[in-house]
Each structure stands twice: as structure tokens, then as C-alpha cells.
Amino acid sequence: MAGPLYAADPPGSVASADLEGLTALFHARSGTTHILAPPAPQILRALAAGPADAGEIAARLADAFDLAGEEDAEAAISARLAELEAAGLVWRQSRSGSGQPPG
């Protein structure tokens, strides 16, 4: 059974800066700033291609990276998604695909 589908704001809606391994990200829509450690920024970029569940995100990341701890990729990504969701940077989307983020 596929896991929850997650979506994120397009990369153009956030401003980010590299901080020697960390990423400072200003989320304009919420007006909040976040400090992200890998792989959170990479997950957000993977979601730029469209909503996906943890398995699909793992596949997208594997296209660009060699994943360390690959056997636990989905579990690790699910944990990262939960954090990103709590921070308001991603949200769950129905699989019907109805609706788009406002503004």
C-alpha cells in the first residue's frame, strides 16, 4: 500500500542560502525561517517535480544521489517528511490530485 502523498511549495516561493552544510530557508508564505540539514532540502527539491510518497521521493533522490543507508530509505524519508510537515513546509495531498496551493 502506498504511503501518504506529500506536496511542497515550488522552489521559487522560498529563499534559501547555504550555511556550510546546512540550508537556511525563508518560507515567504508563512513568514518563517527554518534551518534544514540534509536530506531535508533535497527532499523539498525532489518534491518540486510534483507530489510524491516516500517511496517515490526515494526513487527521485536515487536518480541524483548515491543514497547512504539505502535499505532504510523510505523509513528515513518518512521521518523527514513528518518533520517538514510539522514545520509547514510540506503537506499531505489526496491522490485524486484535486486542488492546488493557494496564491
Binding site: G69, R80, R92
Partner: protein
């Protein structure tokens, strides 16, 4: 922590000890980290409220200027009666109720669980200047 410098970059720092040198690499290693590790920290904005006010602040769903609209499961506002969408919340949700929902806790009293998830998705999309935004933003602040 991970050793990626930046996103989907194809450039990896040389691990062989040549200080400051960057060598081209087709593949970059991305460490996904332990499940229990934390990778997101939210910086407290200047308008953050106190913990006490977070418990008591309220978030109308939808905001008063959009009253009457239904809330789709993804949190978008849709015309009243839209199939699969939910009627507005019967009362404003308190900050504490939303905080509990965000942590996958129990649904507030009198709120249908599926509707509550739609309300939460609506709240996550609140923008600055929208009723309830400051309350929601303060919920995201680390304690």
C-alpha cells in the same frame, strides 16, 4: 550528518585531503540519517506569541472573509456543497487543538476526523495577514 553541500549539485568535495579542492563527480552521496534524527529547526520570528497565548488563540476555518466556503481535503477553499469537501468548522479551533492535530493527536471534540485533517491542511496554508495566521505561526515555534 549528510555530506552534501548543496541540493542536486554534481560537485563533490574531495575527500582525499586536498584542502579546498573540488573535483567533478557524477554522483554525490546523500546520507538520509537515522529515523530519530532531527533535520528541521524553525527560527522564532519577532512576532511569536507566548506559550500561554498559543493555547488560547483561535483560528477560524475558514477566515471570516471566506465564510460559507467549504474546505477540500487538501485544504483549499471550494464552493459550498462541493462533493468530498467539508463544511466550515462549527467553531474556531484553538491553538492548542491545532497543535495537538499537527502532532497526530486526537481530533477536537465535535469535529469529524476527516474534516479535521482538511481544516489542518487549510490552516497550514494560511498566509500572513489572514485571520489565524499569527496563531498558526506561533504554533510552529520551538518551545
Amino acid at each position: 550528518m549528510g555530506i552534501v553541500r548543496d541540493g542536486m549539485s554534481d560537485v563533490k568535495q574531495d575527500e582525499g585531503g586536498s584542502a579546498g579542492a573540488f573535483v567533478p563527480s557524477r554522483r554525490t552521496v546523500l546520507a538520509l540519517g537515522a529515523v530519530a534524527a532531527s533535520t528541521v529547526v524553525t527560527v522564532r520570528p519577532a512576532f511569536a506569541q507566548t506559550a500561554g497565548s498559543v493555547l488560547n488563540c483561535e483560528i477560524p476555518v475558514p477566515s471570516p472573509d471566506k465564510v460559507g466556503n467549504y474546505i477540500a481535503s487538501d485544504g483549499t477553499l471550494v464552493p459550498p456543497g462541493t462533493p468530498g469537501a467539508f463544511a466550515p468548522a462549527p467553531r474556531p479551533l484553538t491553538g492548542e487543538e491545532v497543535r495537538v492535530l499537527m502532532n497526530h493527536g486526537p481530533t477536537p471534540a465535535g469535529i469529524d476526523p476527516d474534516a479535521a485533517q482538511a481544516y489542518l491542511n487549510y490552516i497550514r496554508r494560511l498566509q500572513a495577514g489572514t485571520s489565524g495566521f499569527t496563531c498558526f505561526a506561533s504554533l510552529q515555534m520551538p518551545r
